[in-house]
């Protein structure tokens, strides 16, 4: 199937997939590292106990708690990664926009943490998108990345999803004041993805002088023709 003129390239899609995978790998390496070290610490304590010493029950409970928290964190990351990976399954199906953004917030958390930017949920209405869920992921990711790049320590970014008449809107608003500028590489890529999804993006000034990036999509109920870009 041929790509529409101006559609995002396969390489751009792969680059997005790679960026998410790298971030998640990093997170999972941290999880495994903690489980590995706590397991090792328990092993360190065994010889003393075997020789007739005791292990403080409180210490054991602390170590068990560390393992438990990391295992749960790992399960959560893998669940969202699995959802994300399956977004490639049906390029012309339908998807729950809020669920997709939920995955994105978890999988992109590391990018925000690194910049000491607080990522939080705003409005969270469910609506059904139709088309390519992977490209929907990519659009939201590019929009988030654009605002993150201009944000710094202490800034906040709110991701919201709502219905607006016949459209579904993903709104990413940051406290950083981003000056008007020519579209950069990220915005140009975002525009290409939005075109394929039959939507558009709009940048505006927020109430506190911050920046709002709205992504407007057709909703499933409108019978939007499936994307044929892939």
């Amino acid at each position: 199937v041929s790509e529409p003129v101006g559609a995002p390239s396969e390489r751009e899609g792969l680059a997005f997939f790679g960026a998410v995978a790298a971030s998640v790998t990093h997170e999972l390496n941290n999880v495994l590292s903690i489980v590995d070290q706590v397991s090792g610490l328990l092993g360190d304590l065994v010889p003393g106990a075997s020789a007739g010493g005791t292990i403080d029950p409180g210490r054991l409970a602390t170590l068990q708690g560390r393992i438990d928290r990391q295992v749960r964190k790992g399960i959560e990351i893998v669940r969202h990664l699995n959802n994300f990976a399956h977004s490639l399954d049906e390029p012309s199906g339908s998807f729950d926009a809020a669920d997709v953004l939920d995955d994105l917030m978890v999988l992109s958390g590391r990018f925000a943490e690194r910049g000491k930017v607080r990522l939080q949920r705003g409005d969270w209405e469910e609506w059904g998108g139709r088309g390519d869920a992977f490209r929907f992921h990519q659009a939201a990711f590019e929009a988030l990345r654009w605002i993150l790049a201009e944000s710094g320590e202490g800034d906040e970014i709110e991701i919201g999803v709502r219905r607006d008449g016949q459209a579904g809107v993903v709104s990413i608003s940051g406290t950083a004041q981003i000056p008007d500028q020519e579209p950069d590489e990220v915005l140009e890529r975002l525009a290409r993805v939005m075109r394929v999804l039959g939507g558009e993006h709009r940048i505006s000034r927020g109430a506190q002088g911050g920046t709002v990036l709205d992504l407007r999509f057709p909703t499933a109920s409108e019978g939007v023709p499936p994307n044929d870009g892939n």
Partner: protein, 126 residues
């Protein structure tokens, strides 16, 4: 006993807390910090023989922390750790490779060996 003083710096609090206990069991004096700023404050109070620092952290990342600490204490040895999934390519861009890098997860024995190698002449007392 001449204990080695080791500072562990990583934003994963449970990792540095656990590593701290494991190094102490092995006869070292270990302390930990979960941010670059906290690490710099600790180094100002007293120098460390070795700092073990995560490359990627919120705020001050590993290479910046190392640069500032080495300005004050050029004798301090450095080990970088990272959850980055590769030892090639991008890692080379992240550091000039003046310092050894351990990829997470790593065995405690490898960390201990590196600390001992870097501080040879001031080896850990048994």
């Amino acid at each position: 006993m001449n204990e080695l003083r080791v500072l562990l710096v990583d934003d994963e609090e449970e990792l540095v807390a656990t590593l701290q206990e494991r190094l102490e069991i092995r006869g070292m004096r270990a302390e930990s910090a979960t941010s670059g700023d906290a690490a710099l404050r600790m180094v100002q109070r007293a120098p460390f023989d070795v700092i073990v620092v995560d490359l990627k952290m919120p705020g001050l990342d590993g290479t910046k922390i190392v640069g500032r600490i080495r300005e004050q204490h050029p004798e301090t040895q450095v080990i970088l750790i990272t959850g980055h999934g590769s030892s090639h390519g991008e890692l080379d861009d992240l550091t000039d490779r003046d310092y050894p890098i351990l990829l997470k997860p790593f065995p405690i024995q490898r960390l201990v060996e590196l600390i001992q190698e870097l501080t040879s002449g001031r080896r850990v007392e048994p």
